[in-house]
C-alpha cells in the first residue's frame, strides 16, 4: 500500500512539474498577489503617522489662536499642511473638491478675540461672582473653525482631523484660561507669578500589545503581517483549480478506467494526491514567507517578522492543516466536475468567495456585522485565524487547536463526500 501511495505522490509531482501554466498559477501568481496587495493595502494599515492626510490651511485670524492651531496640527505629525492663505473662498473650496487636499481648515478672523472674550468672561464670573456679567461671555459658536471636506475622503480621515482640531482648540482654551487666571492672581497678590503651562494631559496613556512584542515591531498588524499569511492561504486554496483539473483530466483521458482495473483503493489514490499537494502548499508557504521577509521591504513595506523557533513549528502545523483542508476541497471539486472548464470555474469561484467573506481581502473585524458572522464559517477564515494565532498573537498549541479542529473536520467531510461520490459513479 505504501509503495502505491508513493507512486501516486511521485506521479502527481511529475505532472505538476511538467505543467508550466500550473506552476505559474501555484507559485508565481501568489508572489505577485502578495506583493501587489501588500503595497496597495499599505495605506489603510498604517497608523496615520506618515503625514498621509493632506490639509489645506488658511488663517484668517492672524493672531495667536490661528498660529497655535497651525502649530498644533503640525505637531500631531499626521498631516501634510499646505498654506491656502492666498486663495479666495471659492478657489479654496474648489481645491478640496477636486481632491488636491483632503481637508481644508479655515481659522476664522475673530478666533483670538473669541477665545479671549470667553476666557475673560469666565474669569470675571470666577473672581467677581457678584458683579460679573454672565451675558458678556460670547456664545461657543461665535467663532468656529471651518472644516471643508473632500467628498471622497474616508470617514476615518475626517474624524482624525476633527479630533485633532478639538484637542488643539481645547489646549488653546485651557492655556488662555490659565494665563488669564495668572493675571487675576497677580493683580490680587501684587506679585509676579511664574508662567503656568499645562504641558499635556494630567493622566497619560500607556499603549501595549496584548501579546509579547516582536523585535522591532511597533504595531500589532501591518500590511505585511496581514497580506502575507492571507494570500498564502489564498494561494494554498487556489491549488484547488490545478488539483481538480488534473483529476478531471485523468478521468476523461481514460487513465481512471485503467486505475480502476489495477490493485489499489480510492483512498490510496486520494492520499497520494493530497500528500503531493500538501508538499506544494508547504513550499508555497516557504516561498511566500521569504517574500514577506526579504522582498516586501524592498518596496518600502515593513518586513514580515517571525517569533521564536517554537512558533515556526506551530506555523508549519497550521500550514499542514490548512493545506489538508485546501487539497481535500480540491478533491471534492474534482469529484463533482465533469470537464476541466467546470472544475476551473467552480474551484476558482468558490475560493474567491470563501476568501472574500473569510477576511483574506480585508480583515474580518472591519466588515459589517452580518458579514463577520458569515465569514466565520469560511475555512479560509479558520486558516487566517490559525496563522494569526501563531504569527501575531503568539498563541500556544491549545489556542491553535481551536482552529485546526474545524479545518480537519472540513477536510474529512470533503474526503468522505468525494469517496462516496467516486463509489456511486463507479457503481452506476
Amino acid at each position: 500500500m505504501f509503495t502505491r501511495i508513493l507512486a501516486h505522490v511521485h506521479k502527481e509531482l511529475l505532472l505538476l512539474l511538467r505543467d508550466r501554466t500550473g506552476l505559474l498559477l501555484v507559485y508565481v501568481m501568489p508572489i505577485f498577489l502578495v506583493s501587489v496587495m501588500a503595497v496597495v493595502q499599505d495605506a489603510p494599515f498604517r497608523d496615520f503617522s506618515d503625514k498621509q492626510v493632506r490639509v489645506l490651511f488658511k488663517d484668517l485670524d492672524g493672531g495667536p489662536v490661528g498660529e497655535a492651531v497651525q502649530r498644533g496640527l503640525e505637531a500631531t505629525g499626521s498631516f501634510t499642511i499646505t498654506s491656502g492663505q492666498a486663495l479666495d473662498e471659492v478657489e479654496f473650496r474648489e481645491r478640496v473638491r477636486r481632491g488636491e487636499h483632503q481637508i481644508g481648515v479655515v481659522v476664522p478672523a475673530n478666533a483670538t478675540e473669541a477665545v479671549a472674550a470667553r476666557s475673560e468672561g469666565t474669569m470675571a464670573l470666577l473672581f467677581d461672582p457678584l458683579t460679573g456679567d454672565r451675558t458678556a461671555i460670547p456664545a461657543a459658536d461665535s467663532a468656529a473653525v471651518l472644516m471643508v471636506v473632500d467628498p471622497a475622503v474616508k470617514h476615518v480621515f475626517r474624524e482624525l482631523v476633527r479630533s485633532s482640531l478639538v484637542r488643539v482648540l481645547a489646549g488653546i482654551s485651557s492655556e488662555r484660561l490659565l494665563a488669564d487666571m495668572r493675571v487675576r492672581l497677580e493683580a490680587i497678590n501684587g506679585d509676579t507669578l511664574p508662567p503656568i503651562a499645562l504641558g499635556g494631559p494630567f493622566v497619560g496613556i500607556d499603549q501595549q500589545l496584548a501579546a509579547r512584542e516582536l523585535t522591532g515591531s511597533k504595531v500589532a498588524s501591518d500590511t505585511t503581517a496581514h497580506n502575507v499569511p492571507a494570500w498564502t492561504i489564498f494561494a494554498m486554496f487556489f491549488t484547488v483549480v490545478l488539483l481538480a483539473g488534473n483529476m478531471v483530466k485523468e478521468r476523461t483521458a481514460g487513465c481512471m478506467v485503467r486505475l480502476l482495473t489495477m490493485p489499489g483503493t480510492v483512498a490510496e489514490r486520494l492520499i497520494g494526491r493530497i500528500t503531493a499537494y500538501l508538499m506544494v502548499c508547504l513550499t508555497q508557504l516557504a516561498i511566500l514567507l521569504s517574500v514577506g521577509h526579504w522582498v516586501l521591504p524592498l518596496f518600502g513595506l515593513p518586513p514580515l517578522r517571525f517569533g521564536p523557533p517554537e512558533d515556526l513549528l506551530l506555523l508549519v502545523l497550521a500550514a499542514l492543516f490548512i493545506g489538508l483542508a485546501a487539497t481535500s476541497f480540491g478533491v471534492l471539486v474534482g469529484s463533482f466536475s465533469r470537464t476541466q472548464q467546470q472544475s476551473a470555474i467552480l474551484g476558482s469561484t468558490a475560493v474567491v468567495i470563501m476568501s472574500a467573506i473569510g477576511g483574506i481581502w480585508v480583515p474580518l473585524y472591519i466588515m459589517p456585522g452580518p458579514m463577520q458572522v458569515i465569514g466565520r464559517i469560511s475555512p479560509l477564515n479558520w486558516s487566517m485565524e490559525a496563522f494569526n494565532v501563531v504569527m501575531l498573537r503568539q498563541g500556544d498549541l491549545a489556542e491553535l487547536v481551536m482552529y485546526l479542529i474545524p479545518l480537519a473536520l472540513f477536510a474529512a467531510a470533503c474526503l468522505l463526500v468525494s469517496i462516496v461520490a467516486e463509489r456511486v459513479v463507479s457503481s452506476r
Binding site: A7, K11, L15, G254, V257, R258, L260, M262, P263
Partner: protein, 245 residues
C-alpha cells in the same frame, strides 16, 4: 475438467438514465489460453460488458467469475490477475513512456528490478525503446496505442482484456499489435477482446460471440479457430443489415 478463466452468468446492466438494459442476460465462458472475441455493432453492449468483467462497472444482476473469483466481491484479487487495455489511450501524456510504465508497474507491486526488466523487454518488443524518454504527447497515435497495450502487459497477467485496441491507427502499427497479441496468447495468456473489425477478429480470435442489443445472438468459430463460414457473412446473418446509428 478444466475450469474456465472467465465465467459470466445472467449478466444484466441497467443504467440509471437508460431505458432498455445495456446488457440483458449475458452468459459466456472463456477457457484458459483462448483468444476470445466479443463482436457486435455499435451500441451492442461490448464496452459495458468488458467494463463489468474488469470491475470498472458494477452489474445490476448476475455475476462474473475470473478464475473462480467474484469480480464484485474480490476486486483486489481479480485485478492482480488481469491486464486491461481500454479503448481510450489511458496514459499520462506529459509523462514519458518510462515514467508511465514505472507508475503503473509500481501500482502492480513490481520490484524496481523486475519493473525495469519487463519494461525494457516490452519497449524493445514494440519498437518504442528509442523514444521511451520522450513525453508521450509527442508520439504518434500508433506508438501510443502500442504503449497502451504494453502497460497492460507489464505485470505479465494471465488474463488480458482489450477494448477495441487498434482504433484509429495505421496499418503498420496495427500489424505490430496483432503480432504482439498473437505472441502473448501463444505464451498462454487468455485474451478477451472486443471489436467491430471483423477482419481483425478473424485473424486473432479462436472463438467469437456476437452481441446485439445487450444479448448474445450467436457463437462462431473463426477461420483461425477452424470455422468454415466467413465471419462477415455470419455476422450479418446474426445481426441483420439494419443501420445502427
Amino acid at each position: 475438467m478444466i475450469a474456465p478463466d472467465i465465467r459470466v452468468e445472467g449478466l444484466v446492466k441497467r443504467y440509471r438514465n437508460g431505458g432498455r438494459p445495456a446488457l440483458n442476460g449475458m452468459d459466456l465462458q472463456v477457457m484458459p489460453g483462448e483468444f476470445f472475441g466479443l463482436l457486435g455493432p455499435n451500441g451492442a453492449g461490448k464496452t459495458t460488458m468488458i467494463s463489468i468483467l474488469t470491475g470498472v462497472l458494477a452489474p445490476s444482476e448476475g455475476r462474473v467469475l475470473v478464475r473462480g473469483l467474484d469480480v464484485v466481491k474480490e476486486p483486489g484479487r481479480v485485478h492482480r490477475l488481469i491486464g486491461f487495455v481500454p479503448q481510450e489511450i489511458a496514459l499520462y501524456d506529459t509523462l514519458t513512456a518510462r515514467e508511465n510504465l514505472r507508475y503503473f508497474g509500481r501500482l502492480h507491486g513490481l520490484s524496481t528490478a523486475m519493473l525495469g526488466e519487463r519494461a525494457e523487454a516490452l519497449l524493445v518488443r514494440t519498437g518504442l525503446q528509442d523514444r521511451a524518454d520522450e513525453q508521450v504527447r509527442h508520439w504518434s497515435g500508433g506508438m501510443r496505442r502500442r504503449l497502451n497495450i504494453v502497460v497492460a502487459l507489464l505485470h505479465a497477467p494471465p488474463i488480458l482484456f482489450l477494448d477495441e485496441p487498434t482504433v484509429g491507427i495505421d496499418i503498420q502499427s496495427r500489424a505490430a499489435i496483432w503480432d504482439l497479441l498473437h505472441e502473448v496468447n501463444a505464451g498462454g495468456t487468455t485474451v478477451l477482446y472486443t471489436s467491430h473489425h471483423l477482419e481483425e477478429a478473424e485473424r486473432l480470435c479462436t472463438r467469437v460471440v456476437v452481441m446485439d442489443d445487450g444479448r448474445s445472438v450467436g457463437e462462431l468459430s473463426t477461420t483461425r479457430g477452424g470455422g468454415h463460414e466467413r465471419l462477415e457473412d455470419a455476422f450479418l446473418r446474426l445481426t441483420g443489415r439494419q443501420l445502427r446509428d
